[in-house]
Each structure stands twice: as structure tokens, then as C-alpha cells.
């Protein structure tokens, strides 16, 4: 895209204040017609706030500065007005209703009508058209809950198209997608560019931004740092990171020399059935973990990695069929989560907001939540010990919060993740299972989390990392298992692991003997 394309959108010195906080100060953004414009910045840099100002979530008058859209000053007082102008935002948390069909969702709030009643015939026909446009091959009557998250994302985009979109805003569109689905989505965005649709994309995945965007605006601490022209300025990932964190990050992973001991945890012939259907989600899976070792689990979305982890962690997923768990040479029975915690297991879930934390709690209550017995004396909780434990972890993990009385809902993703880690470190586990430990977390915080994981391993604990980001697994893990459709299809050492070798085994049931 040439820089002389007409300007579609210009946001001028946008300042937005919340009580006590300046979320945006004097932010400028220029988006040209027909380009893909990426917005980068660490969590809390103000990306989402800026998009909320643009889409009218924060109505005109609650911020200062001007928005010029299609050559005219825009004063949106709600989302409906911005949508009417062709600005559609797709949020990170998908706004779809699980029990409605694809068609119903696509036209929710925007139903084609005939004499006051919804015209389902027209809706069906248009739904099919739109689905073809985004490359979604499904029956339009399928319920949203029955399709995968990748396809749900496509439904969201089709929904935006149903509103006659001119400027499409995507907030972390690939955060929940696996590599293949992400790739499909990025191809789709390129296709839209050909059709002249302008996109704004917020993402933490710098490789994607580098691959797809025409220009990049970087925010830091609520201010515009710079706007880069990708082709003209020769931008690469390191260049973006430098802008985001304001310094050079020499490496994405901290230096680490593993101190690996003997095998202490072993799961063998593990079979688990889906909670409702008869399908096996874990088929005869066997794996081992050594002391001081970081073991990765690679696989596509839906391969059954989370299911494996949760079923091992006190049978908290699915219906147990058969299998043995041996820890320190002895077979153990983990029938409940309490058993698993008692035997030194910890599971940090992939969805910290939905199932990892009680968002009503503050930091200290969350920190001690999984092992209250440690701060209880004859059944009575000690407030002092609770405070001291939480404070110690806050300092150790460098959680950014004024005090441990702060509610966890007010923390950024990275700091919430640190609280969850603290919660499980507090249980003194021997084996930590971390499911997508850096999802939705910015570059700086990721580096810190990697450091924490390595320190835990160095203390002689075993760590299992489940991740959809292959570079993360390759950079962090001493050994990686690949999982495909509920089976372990391969085992690669650090030396053998590269994106190609992993991808090959993540997509095939053929067990390759690489060791």
C-alpha cells in the first residue's frame, strides 16, 4: 500500500481519563484507506481504550481530541452510530451466543425484516453468501457451540460484513487460534485488503504483524511512540519490540542451563472419555517428567492437551477409563483435585479469568486459595500469615500492584498470571502443569514468566508447558511431546525440535521414532 492513499481515519490528540488514571494522553493515529494497520503495545498501553473511543463505547464528550473519519469529524455516542458509519470492532472475547445458530448470530441486532417480522429466508441466503466470503464451510443452522473457536472467529467477521463494514477492527484475533486457523485468518485479511477494506489489528503476535501489516502504530503508557511504515522502514520483530518496551530485548528467552534429574512422574496408558459423548479424548497416552525438566506439549487446538492435563489433575475433565500415574516410584490415585494438590500437582489453567481466578477476590485471598491449610491454625485462618505469604510472592514475582489488597480484576493479564502462578507456587508443588501460561500477555511480562518457569525447574520441580506458540515451546522446553487427536504422536529433544519437525507430528497420527 502506498503512503499516498487517501486518509480514511485520523484520530488527533486523543486524551481519555478515568478517575485517577490517564489511560490515553495525546494519542494520534492515521489510518489510510485500504491498508492493514497494526496497533502494538504492551498490556495497559491503551490499545483497547483507543479502539473503544473510536467505536463509541466511550461516547463523544468523555474524551478530548478529534476523530476525523472519511473527511468528516465523527462524534459517535454509541456503538450503533459507529457501526452505521461502517466501523465494526471484533472483540477478543467473542460476542456470540452459543445456543443460537450461525445465521441467528450473524444477524443479531441487524435482522432483515419484512413487515415487522424477521425474514429468515433472506437471512439464510445472505448468511450463505457471507460465509462463502469468509471461507466458512458449515451448515448455517449449526449452533455456535458446536463449531470450533477458529470458525467462531470467522462467524464474527461474517457478522461484521453483514453490517457493511468499511473499517474492520480486530482485537487479538488470533489469540485463541492455532497456527493453521491463524494462517487462514491472515490470508482472509489479505483478501479483504484486495477488496479495499481497511483493517486495524491489535495483536501480541509480532510475527503475524510483521507478515501482514502495512503500517504499525506503537503505543506505550497511553502515548503514541511512533508510526512505522513496514516496507519503507524495513521493520522486523526486534524493531517493534524495541518500540514497545522502550529498550532492546536482547533475547526473547532468559539464558538457562537446565539441571535435569531422574524421572519422577510417569503417566502410562492413559485413557479418558469425553464427558458427554463416547469419544476418547485421551488414547493410551504415556509420558514422563524428570526433576528440573521443562516438558512441552505441542498440538493443534482441540488435540486434547488441556483434556490430558486436566484429567491427570484430579480427574477434573472427562470420564476416567484407565491408566496409571506413578510418582517417585509409587503408584498414586488422584481421584479429586484435592488429592492432586496433596500429591504435589498444580495446574495453571489456560483461561485464568473463567476458571483460574475468582475475580471478586483480592491478590492475597487468591494467593492462598488453593492451600488454606497452610495459613490455618486449628481451623482459623491467620490474616497475618496470609498477608505475609501474598506479599512475599508479590515481591518475588514482581507483580505490579500497589498492595496485595488490590482486586485481581484490576490487574493486567501478565500480573493476573503472576497471581495465579503465586497461588500454585504457594501449594509447594513438585509438578506444575502450565496451560498456555503466556496467552494474552505482553512481551516484557512473557520474559519474566519464562524466568519464573526456569527458576521453578531449577528448584528440582518438574514443569509441563502446554502452548500453541511453537517458538515459545522451542525456546523454553527441554523436551517436547506432540499431541494429535488425543494421542501422543512424537517426542522431540530440544535439539530435534523446530517448527517444521513439530508441525509434521502435530498433524499426523503416524508415530515417528525420532529418539
Amino acid at each position: 500500500m502506498t503512503t499516498d492513499a487517501p486518509i480514511l481515519l485520523e484520530m488527533r490528540s486523543i486524551t481519555k481519563e478515568f478517575p485517577g488514571v490517564k489511560a490515553l494522553s495525546d494519542v494520534n493515529l492515521v489510518v489510510r484507506s485500504g491498508e492493514i494497520h497494526a496497533i502494538c503495545g504492551e498490556n495497559g498501553a491503551g490499545k483497547s481504550t483507543l479502539m473503544k473511543v473510536l467505536s463509541g463505547v466511550y461516547p463523544y464528550g468523555t474524551y478530548s481530541g478529534d476523530i476525523v473519519y472519511q473527511g468528516q469529524e465523527a462524534r459517535f455516542s454509541d456503538i450503533r452510530q459507529s457501526e452505521r458509519a461502517g466501523i465494526v470492532i471484533i472483540h477478543q472475547e467473542l460476542a456470540l451466543i452459543p445456543d443460537m445458530s450461525i445465521t441467528e448470530n450473524m444477524f443479531l441486532g441487524n435482522e432483515p425484516r419484512r413487515r415487522g417480522a424477521i425474514d429468515w429466508k433472506v437471512a439464510q441466503k445472505r448468511a450463505k453468501e457471507l460465509m462463502r466470503q469468509v471461507g466458512l464451510d458449515e451448515d448455517p443452522d449449526t449452533l455456535i457451540k458446536d463449531i470450533g473457536v477458529g470458525k467462531q472467529q470467522l462467524v464474527e467477521i461474517a457478522k461484521a460484513f453483514a453490517k457493511d463494514v468499511k473499517l474492520l477492527i480486530l482485537d487479538e484475533p488470533t489469540a485463541a487460534l492455532n497456527e493453521a486457523d491463524s494462517q487462514h485468518l491472515l490470508d482472509l485479511l489479505r483478501g479483504f485488503r484486495e477488496q479495499g477494506i481497511t483493517s486495524i489489528m491489535i495483536s501480541h503476535k509480532l510475527n503475524e504483524i510483521e507478515a501482514i501489516s502495512d503500517s504499525i502504530t506503537i503505543l506505550r503508557d497511553g502515548r503514541t511512540v511512533e508510526t512505522l511504515d513496514v516496507k519503507g522502514d524495513g521493520v522486523d520483530e526486534d524493531r517493534i519490540v524495541r518500540g514497545m518496551v522502550g529498550r532492546e530485548l536482547s533475547s526473547r528467552f532468559p539464558d538457562h542451563t537446565p539441571k535435569i534429574g531422574e524421572v519422577f512422574f510417569e503417566v502410562s496408558n492413559w485413557n479418558v472419555k469425553h464427558p458427554i459423548t463416547d469419544r476418547l479424548v485421551c488414547k493410551n497416552e504415556t509420558f514422563t517428567v524428570r526433576r528440573g525438566e521443562i516438558v512441552g506439549f505441542a498440538g493443534l487446538m482441540g488435540a486434547g492437551r488441556t483434556e490430558l492435563a486436566m484429567s491427570v489433575f484430579g480427574r477434573s475433565y472427562g470420564v476416567f477409563q484407565s491408566g496409571r500415574i506413578v510418582k517417585d516410584g509409587k503408584e498414586i490415585q488422584l481421584k479429586t483435585v484435592a488429592d492432586a494438590i496433596h500429591h504435589g500437582l498444580a495446574y495453571v489453567s489456560e483461561d485464568r479469568k473463567a476458571i483460574g481466578l475468582n475475580l471478586l477476590d483480592d491478590i492475597k485471598t487468591s494467593t492462598v486459595a488453593a492451600k488454606l491449610s497452610k495459613i490455618s491454625h486449628r481451623g482459623v485462618l491467620s490474616e497475618v500469615e496470609e498477608y505475609e505469604a501474598a506479599e512475599a510472592y508479590r515481591k518475588e514475582l514482581r507483580t505490579k500492584a500497589p498492595t496485595v489488597d488490590e482486586g485481581v480484576s484490576k490487574l493486567s493479564g501478565g500480573n493476573q498470571q503472576k497471581v495465579v502462578l503465586a497461588k500454585w507456587m504457594f501449594t509447594d508443588p513438585d509438578l506444575l502443569i502450565l496451560d498456555e501460561p503466556t496467552r494474552g500477555i505482553d512481551v516484557g511480562a512473557k520474559y519474566e514468566i519464562y524466568g519464573i518457569i526456569q527458576r521453578l525447574a531449577d528448584q528440582g520441580k518438574g514443569v509441563i508447558v502446554i502452548s500453541s506458540e511453537l517458538p515459545e515451546l522451542i525456546g523454553l522446553c527441554d523436551r517436547i511431546y506432540t499431541v494429535f487427536e488425543g494421542q501422543i504422536t512424537g517426542e522431540l529433544s530440544r535439539e530435534q525440535a523446530n517448527p517444521e519437525s513439530l508441525m509434521k507430528q502435530m498433524t499426523s497420527t503416524k508415530k515417528m521414532q525420532t529418539r
Partner: protein
């Protein structure tokens, strides 16, 4: 000015302190004073001679509402866990009739009858808890069924008749503390209780300060602590003298004492034990709680069972006070108890709420009811006013929260936050340790 700010900040909590923070306690005090004034005007006497704060009225007020407040304790825990219990009135009535019958026809001595009543509550609670926790039927449905079931059972057992209860039993609902010692012109038992409460308040403030220092956080300035304790002591002494200074033979009621003990016990349980914290964890995010090793079913079973035991106790206290058990006992109690809990700041979605908040909420409703009756307002209009108060109280709280402003009720519902205003013993008759500054 800075001194005043410091006082404002530390006396009733946080930096955003303003009149709202007095919250429900302030509302309660205001309502009491308002009715004191109105009743005095109504009969043409001075403010001090108003009917509301007269000894006999305060005693009656507590006796008439102790059973609702006992229900509110259990209901708070049910609601915090994310459930609801509609059956409490019927359970109370069913227990009442069985207990009355056990004494009248099967010659149970009254202490045995009380144990029998609690056992009935436990069995009913186990029944309802089973369906809620282990089968997974929503509590709304289980207890709606229970409401019909046990109302019918009451009328089936009692043939829709009234059964009287003996005098010994009546003491738990209508009895007073004994008279002893020198003639002080007051009831000495009540004076002793008041003294214990005063000592408890001072000790509590002192230990809270010590805890703060231990956490290496700054305690409130000493003079602020002094003022806070002074206010609480003044209220306590006033209320003690009122309850002790009624007609000869009256005192702080036995049912009130039962209530106070339960409030202390359950407040301690919900705030300072792992079991109590599990209830909040389950209500706040049940999946997260489960993955933290909390036994979900056990917690749900416990709160439902506990509620029915307390409902049985409330039923027996009511029967004791009215000297007989009848087919209409406990009608609409569930609604009063639920209203108390929500006025007291609990969240409909669960996870938020405190016992003391619910008690204050219940007292607001009780004082309103009592005051309007003293003024001769008919029950029709009383009901309309109570409905509006419930709606407005919760709406105000929701509004304040959505504006990101300091929430009155929110402040009451954060037991461990240092920004928590003290709850000076509710009416003061209640020597519950105030929620003083304990946080970190």
C-alpha cells in the same frame, strides 16, 4: 482541616470517604432517629419521649425480628454460595408443628423437643442439599418444591389446627434474662452483657491495631481509634441501659441473646475459617474453586443444610413467642430474609456479602416496619413502602458501583479490606466485633 480529613479517612474507611460510606448503618441510625421524632410529635411529647427508643419497644422489636434475622444469617451464606432458599418459612412452620406436637402429645421434655426440632431441620436440610449439591437441581426449584411440600406437611401433621406449647419452651422466644444481685434499678444480667460487649469492642480495636503493626502497615492514628471506640461504647452503653431499664422482669430478650451468639459464631466462621472462605470461593467462581481443590458438592450441601437447621430454630423461637404453633406460621419469611440479605449488600450472582451487612439490612426493614406501625400506618401501605425501600437500596448501590464511585454496601461487604468502615455493633445491642481496620 487536615485533622478532619484524617478523621474522615480513618474513622469510616477509605480515601474516597464521604457521607455514603456510613452506608446502611447511617441509614439505620437515621431511620431510628426519624421515627423517634415522628412518634414523639404524633403523641405531642418531646424528642426524648418518642416511642421508638422506649425500652419496651426496643425489646419488642428485637423479639419480633430475631427469627427473621436468624434466617438472614443462613440466607446470606446460601446467597453468597450462589443459591437461594424459598422454603425457610415452610420448614420453620413444619418444625414448629412437630415440636409442639412432640411436647403436647408425645410428652417430650422441652429441651429434648428443641434438639428434636434441630434434628428435623438437619434432615430436611440434608434432603434439600442432596438435590441441590449431588443431583444438581437448581436451589430455586428444590426449595420452591420444599416450600409447597413442607407447608402442606405442616397442615397435614397439625390437621390445620393450632397446638399450644408449654411454658419452659416459651422462654426461648418470649423469655428474659434472670434478675440477680443488688437492686440497681436495672436488669443486672443485661448490664453484665453490656459490660462484656464494651470490653470486647476495646479489645477488638486493640488487637486490630496490633495486627496492622505486625503486617508492618500503619494503623489508624491513635486518636482516631479513640474516637471510634468512644462512639461504639456510647452506642453500646445507651442501648444496654435501654434494654436493662424496661419494666421489672424484662431484660435483653433470650431470643436476642441467641441471635447475638449466632451472629458472632457465623461471622467468625465466614471470615476466619477455610470452610467460610470456600463458600465465597464457590459463589465467586465455582469452576476456579473446584480447580483449587474445593469440594463443591460438600460446600453446597452444607449451606443448604445449615439454612434448614437455622430455619427450624427460627420456627421454634417463633412458636415459643406466640405460645402455639399454627398452620400460617412462617408465611413470607423467606421474602423478609432474602430482602435483608440484599439490602445488606449481597450480590445476586453470589460471592459477595457479609453476615453483619445482612443483619443491618434486616434491622433497617424491622425498624421501618415497627416505626410505621407505631405511627398507625396500615399494613397495606407498610408493604408498599418496604417494597420501595428494597428496590431503592439495591438500585442506589448498583448505580454507585456502575459509576465507579465508592459503594456503601460494597464497603460493608469487604470484611478484610482496610477501607472497611466499622459496624458499631449494629443497634449496639449486638456486641459483634466491629469490622475495624484489619487489612494489610
Amino acid at each position: 482541616m487536615s485533622r478532619f480529613k484524617e478523621l474522615q479517612k480513618n474513622l469510616f474507611g477509605g480515601t474516597t470517604s464521604n457521607a455514603r460510606q456510613f452506608g446502611m448503618i447511617f441509614t439505620l441510625v437515621a431511620i431510628v432517629l426519624l421515627f423517634q421524632l415522628l412518634t414523639a410529635n404524633n403523641i405531642g411529647v418531646g424528642f426524648g419521649d418518642g416511642l421508638t427508643l422506649r425500652s419496651d419497644n426496643l425489646i419488642a422489636l428485637l423479639q419480633q425480628n430475631s427469627y427473621i434475622l436468624i434466617l438472614a444469617i443462613g440466607m446470606l451464606m446460601v446467597i453468597v454460595a450462589g443459591h437461594i432458599d424459598l422454603s425457610v418459612g415452610s420448614v420453620a412452620a413444619f418444625t414448629g408443628i412437630l415440636v409442639a406436637k412432640s411436647m403436647a402429645e408425645w410428652d417430650f421434655p422441652w429441651p429434648v423437643a428443641i434438639l428434636f426440632g434441630l434434628a428435623i431441620g438437619a434432615v430436611i436440610g440434608a434432603w434439600q442439599g442432596f438435590w441441590v449439591a449431588y443431583v444438581g437441581v437448581p436451589a430455586f426449584i428444590v426449595t420452591l418444591a420444599g416450600m409447597l411440600l413442607f407447608r402442606g406437611a405442616n397442615q397435614f401433621v397439625g390437621n390445620a389446627n393450632t397446638i399450644p406449647v408449654p411454658e419452659g419452651f416459651q422462654d426461648i422466644g418470649a423469655g428474659f434474662l434472670p434478675e440477680w444481685g443488688p437492686d440497681t434499678g436495672y436488669n443486672n444480667s443485661t448490664l453484665l452483657l453490656g459490660l462484656i460487649a464494651c470490653v470486647a469492642v476495646v479489645w477488638r480495636e486493640w488487637s486490630a491495631r496490633r495486627t496492622r503493626i505486625e503486617m508492618s502497615a500503619d494503623p489508624a492514628p491513635l486518636w482516631v481509634s479513640g474516637i471510634r471506640v468512644a462512639i461504639m461504647l456510647a452506642v453500646l452503653i445507651f442501648v444496654t441501659l435501654r434494654f436493662a431499664g424496661g419494666r421489672v422482669g424484662t431484660s435483653f430478650p433470650v431470643s436476642g441473646l441467641i441471635l447475638v451468639v449466632l451472629v458472632l459464631l457465623y461471622s467468625f466462621y465466614t471470615r476466619n475459617t477455610a470452610g467460610g472462605r470456600y463458600i465465597y470461593a464457590v459463589g465467586g467462581n465455582s469452576r476456579a474453586a473446584e480447580l483449587s481443590g474445593v469440594k463443591l458438592k460438600r460446600v453446597n450441601f452444607f449451606v443448604m443444610m445449615n439454612m434448614s437447621v437455622l430455619a427450624s430454630l427460627a420456627g421454634m423461637i417463633f412458636v415459643a413467642r406466640s405460645a402455639a404453633s399454627g398452620p400460617q406460621d412462617g408465611l413470607n419469611w423467606e421474602l423478609d430474609a432474602i430482602a435483608a440479605v440484599f439490602i445488606g449488600g449481597a450480590a445476586v450472582s453470589g460471592g459477595i456479602g457479609t453476615i453483619s451487612g445482612s443483619i443491618v439490612g434486616g434491622l433497617v426493614m424491622a425498624v421501618l416496619n415497627n416505626g410505621l406501625q407505631l405511627l398507625g400506618v396500615g399494613t397495606d401501605r407498610v408493604s408498599i413502602i418496604k417494597g420501595l425501600v428494597l428496590l431503592l437500596a439495591v438500585a442506589l448501590d448498583v448505580y454507585n458501583k456502575s459509576q465507579g464511585r465508592f459503594s456503601i454496601i460494597g464497603s460493608l461487604t469487604r470484611p478484610f479490606r482496610k477501607d472497611t468502615p466499622p459496624a458499631p455493633g449494629a443497634t449496639g445491642s449486638n456486641p459483634e466485633p466491629a469490622k475495624t481496620t484489619v487489612g494489610g
